[in-house]
Symmetry: C2
């Protein structure tokens, strides 16, 4: 089957990765339409060695299209996804726009693939930090029951887009050269610095990113009372998120039992060398598919509780790869 595919937001960091992955995974792309703002229209992008011309995104862009991979931002998805659905396409949306909308499945294929079939034209891709977290947490939850999860994140620049990655590099060079630097993307000094995630702050003191990790996990697990809290932090790393996880379980479980579950878990890879004191690092995950896990240990402060450390590529499994995997479940 040849899938007539459109990419919305093809010129961004996730858009570029979508093109890479469609090619790398040999997704059965029929026609490929790359859509972006008026500003980017006419640009050439490479796909399977050929030039593809970026077209301006309009409400008429979706005629004959089977699949739309959307990553142009929430307001763009809000405006154009309904037109794509009306034209008969299925939209896999990377933005936060429809994630919590009732009737829109929110899917990580390793977690809740069964939700895909309930779609009414739109399927939402979760937030990057959520995706990376649920990959190891869901199988542990299934096996042993997670009573409560306490998360702290170490998030890369890529979550704020390709321009943020470039600004981190540019600002760092300016810092090293002792030159002034004017930030236009990231609101805080970023060279050799870090800051609480700058998404909007809620009345309860949680920022949007943290609330996404909580609410999206609850939706995917179909457990509106699943207990999870998160502190989200942006660190000067380019494109892989790391997370420190503290998981209170329903029962006493050995470290070995947890490793057994993780070894069998889809999309998860254990990466550690205990003797060499070597554990997953963001550079290990960069441009890789799995979420890498290590440092599983019993929490000495509380019974039935484990600590672990994970890292996953924000652009790939945190966004583009997850979307393509959903598309594969739909069309392959």
């Amino acid at each position: 089957m040849a899938v007539k595919t459109a990419i919305m937001g093809a010129t961004g960091a996730v858009g570029a990765e979508l093109l890479t992955l469609l090619e790398e995974r040999n997704f059965p792309v029929g026609e490929l339409r790359v859509l972006a703002s008026h500003r980017s229209a006419g640009k050439k992008l490479k796909f399977k060695g050929e030039d593809i011309t970026v077209q301006e995104l309009t409400h008429d862009s979706f005629e004959g299209i089977d699949l739309v991979l959307a990553s142009a931002g929430g307001s763009i998805s809000r405006e154009f996804a309904p037109s794509a659905v009306k034209a008969g396409a299925i939209v896999v949306d990377n933005t936060s726009e429809f994630r919590m909308t009732e009737g829109v499945p929110l899917v990580v294929p390793e977690v809740n693939p069964e939700a895909i079939k309930e779609h009414k034209g739109i399927i939402a891709n979760p937030n990057c930090s959520t995706i990376i977290m649920v990959l190891p947490v869901f199988p542990i939850h299934k096996a042993f029951g997670v009573k409560r999860a306490v998360i702290s994140t170490y998030q890369a620049a890529s979550g704020a887009g390709a321009k943020a990655m470039q600004e981190l590099l540019d600002e760092t060079r300016a810092y090293l050269d002792n030159k002034p630097f004017e930030r236009t993307v990231i609101p805080h000094p970023y060279a050799f610095n870090l800051f609480a995630h700058n998404s909007g702050m809620g009345d309860n003191g949680y920022c949007q990113e943290e609330t996404k990790m909580v609410k999206e996990t609850q939706k995917m697990f179909c457990e509106p009372n699943f207990r999870v809290t998160a502190t989200c932090v942006r660190v000067p790393v380019l494109r892989a998120h790391s997370e420190s996880l503290n998981l209170e379980l329903e029962k006493d479980v050995s470290v070995e039992e947890v490793y057994e579950v993780l070894k069998a878990a889809e999309g998860v890879e254990i990466l550690e060398d205990r003797a060499a004191n070597r554990w997953p690092m963001p550079l290990d995950a960069t441009s890789k598919d799995p979420v890498f896990v290590g440092r599983v240990r019993k929490d000495i402060s509380q019974a039935n509780t484990i600590e672990m450390w994970i890292t996953g590529d924000q652009i790939r499994k945190g966004a583009a790869l997850n979307a393509i995997q959903i598309a594969e479940k739909l069309f392959c």
Copy 2:
């Protein structure tokens, strides 16, 4: 009173900060003897505008000395601190050598100043991550009772010394210039990367840094069963540690009550602008005395639990300042 003061390890990052702080705080220094390895002997250091010549550290270095500020590493303290005590000096030791030794007070002046007077010649300065954590945690514990603390750290290069800070800068420049780089201090790629704290790994899966945070807190609080767990991570930041704290309290407490306690807490400063989404960052803490606190909120995953975010200068309050404050309690 003029205090005849010796600095062991005067040429390191903490040694340099000790000199700065002795001058800045107008500590009543009588004679000042700066001691270092044979290799550094003869070097000149500045103190109050005058050159001081580094002397080689020997067992005879302490004659007539009242106070030794030691930060040359654990093995050096092990070898030379007893000689200093024998010569009649009091040693304030920045290394981990004597921290858990019975009879050696482990002191953060804002937490347990009363322990100072029990010394038998040596007083230990806690680990930097511990000091920064207990500054806000202790007053909250006193006010409301902390049942359990879950910590994740974001630690700066300075904790591994001045050479690690320089290596982070050098490696980052090499990365930006796409040039090869040979690390000699830090065991992992550090430019735009982070890694689990590289101190030795214990059988229980906690690294030494994490175990220090647990055991040293228990010792200072005089509560050997105080429940705390930590995940320690080295991030590409130069000299301030940040920490994400999740504190389960004995009772339900409002966010305002926690802020009241923190406002009154010695050595703690609230730094935030909720409307501007602005919270403490390591660059805020760099070369500053206080531990900066913000983002206090109720944990939505569990009753009677709060989350908060802190940052403090690793070299200053995490090491040199704390040592000088102990010395001030002894001599001023």
